[in-house]
């Protein structure tokens, strides 16, 4: 054991094997499926079909949904984090419990509940009607998909930002106040910059899943509005065209990688600082 601990890197052995076997090789396999057609000939058509009009439309729609939802999550999260950190310690702990608790409810059930709330004869319209306003129907619109996605991933934005903000040394903020900084200055010059690592991991955790969550689009989009995830799912489950499905998956992966490069770079720099 001492020898193992002396060369402690050996402890990572099982994980290295697992990661190669079930993270790296599957990626190689999916790429292999993507670059061959059904007859077994090499082709880039599967990957490039992401640029076919129907697929491109879904990709752009996914991107719009993901960007919109990530932005709204950020805008909703900061005031919440600041409001929670104003509370006394015991209460802020309770607030975190309140925030985490809904995550234990099955997300498909929660989406179905949103469907009921947002539908034309749903709860929301009942309230609106009883207040004397004209009812409006937002079911099966991009807006209702966005509400579902924001609902699903909002806690993933709040928690890392909250962690980063509460880790800020109170004395730094006190010092700034003593030196005459206004509240806005304190936020933009101290709190916000120091919360960036949390914001970055929040963006990562919200942006990617909101681009591809095909169940949300299924339930709240009424099957007509398709995210890129819906198209991939259909190729695999209904059309059984695995090569095309794999090609679109690889295209999606490349796309996500490109859009995340910025965030990863940021993370790595921090990693180095931590060393």
């Amino acid at each position: 054991m001492d020898k193992v601990l002396g060369k402690r890197s050996a402890l990572a052995g099982p994980y290295v094997i697992w990661a190669v076997g079930f993270t790296v090789i599957p990626l190689v396999v999916i790429i292999k499926y993507a670059v061959f057609d059904r007859s077994g000939a090499f082709t880039l058509a599967n990957i490039l079909s992401i640029f076919a009009p129907v697929h491109l439309k879904a990709l752009i729609f996914s991107l719009e949904i993901a960007l919109g939802c990530t932005l709204v999550c950020i805008l909703l999260a900061y005031p919440l984090v600041l409001a929670i950190s104003r509370l006394k310690f015991a209460r802020s702990g309770m607030m975190l419990v309140i925030l985490i608790l809904p995550m234990w409810m099955n997300f498909i059930l929660k989406l179905l509940a949103w469907q009921m709330i947002l539908s034309s004869n749903g709860v929301l319209n009942l309230i609106i009607r009883s207040l004397g306003f004209a009812e409006f129907d937002i079911s099966n619109t991009p807006l209702s998909i966005m509400i579902g996605v924001i609902y699903e991933y909002f806690p993933y934005m709040v928690l890392p930002i909250y962690d980063a903000v509460t880790a800020i040394d109170e004395d730094v903020i006190e010092a700034a106040r003593d030196l005459g900084a206004k509240k806005a200055t304190v936020f933009w010059r101290i709190v916000f910059p120091l919360s960036l690592p949390g914001l970055m991991s929040g963006i990562t955790m919200v942006f990617v899943p909101s681009m591809t969550s095909f169940v949300t689009a299924d339930i709240l989009g009424g099957g007509k509005l398709q995210l890129v995830g819906n198209i991939i799912e259909q190729e695999f489950i209904h059309s059984m065209n695995w090569n095309l499905g794999a090609g679109l998956s690889v295209a999606l992966m490349i796309f996500v990688l490109i859009s995340m490069t910025f965030t990863i770079n940021k993370d790595e720099r921090e990693e180095e600082e931590a060393w």
Partner: protein
């Protein structure tokens, strides 16, 4: 005065967010007491779905499968992931970065890509079923454990272990009694994160499960078109109340809060 107004606005904002977060949950809880099978008609108050829930073998087996998968995958991930965090930390810089990059893949990749890639690979050597879902869950869970344990490894005091060895503790005993306790905070949160992720997963399970087995998520998804059984609402209400109670107890334990605070400063 300004301070009071600020406090009021921030409370109001918290309240609105809570309303947003709990609106669908309130709907589900209300439906669990609805005497009509319809989702839009209120047919009066009833407890009957809670009773029939007990006799519904389909739900029971899906629930059992969900918990079994969550527990097994979280446990295996805890063992492999904790060892991995210790190992990766002591690697040379280049290998360290390579391994952290690979660890990030399942977290950065879209679930649908992870699920499909695993499915395409696993069917080459075994049929889809419990085994393939378990492999898939362990695969996406290990990174959560590594990321939770790694900060504790960074701040761990290795001299305690060495001192124990010098004073005659066996290597195994020193490892379990002097090294692991220093990591326990990260291990516990890693385990629960993995457990939660496994319970909550739909997409990866959907693509790797094959026919015949169902978790709660895949069972519910399959029922969307036929109509959700009201027993499901009853079950999720029970789970909700259970988790609420557990979280309240955990939150009110002063000792737990103390360690949480310390952990935060240590990070």
């Amino acid at each position: 005065m300004v301070e009071k107004a600020r406090a009021f606005i921030s409370r109001l904002y918290i309240l609105l967010i809570i309303l947003f977060l709990y609106a669908p949950i309130a709907v589900l809880i209300i439906l669990s007491f609805n005497d009509s099978r319809s989702r839009v008609v209120w047919g009066g108050f009833t407890f009957k779905w809670y009773v029939t829930l007990l006799h519904n073998s389909q739900i029971r087996s899906a629930l059992g499968m969900t918990f079994l998968l969550a527990f097994l995958s979280a446990f295996v991930s805890l063992v492999i992931g904790t060892a991995a965090a210790l190992g990766i930390y002591s690697m040379k810089k280049r290998n360290h970065r390579l391994m952290m990059m690979i660890t990030n893949i399942p977290m950065l990749n879209a679930d649908i890509v992870t699920g499909i890639a695993l499915m395409l690979w696993i069917i080459q050597f075994m049929p889809l079923g419990f085994g393939s879902v378990l492999i898939a869950h362990i695969t996406f869970n290990i990174p959560y454990v590594i990321l939770a344990v790694m900060p504790k490894v960074r701040t761990m005091n290795i001299s305690i272990y060495n001192a124990g060895r010098d004073l005659g503790a066996g290597p195994l005993r020193a490892f379990f009694e002097l090294m692991l306790p220093q990591l326990s905070g990260g291990m516990i949160s890693g385990f629960f994160m993995a457990f939660t992720m496994s319970m909550d997963d739909f997409v990866i399970t959907y693509f790797t499960k094959g026919a015949g087995i169902n978790t709660l998520s895949t069972m519910i998804y399959g029922e969307i078109k036929k109509g959700i059984k009201p027993e499901i609402y009853a079950l999720s209400t029970i789970i909700f109340v259970l988790v609420l109670v557990i979280l309240m107890i955990a939150n009110s334990m002063p000792a737990a809060e103390g360690t949480k605070r310390m952990g935060r400063q240590g990070d």
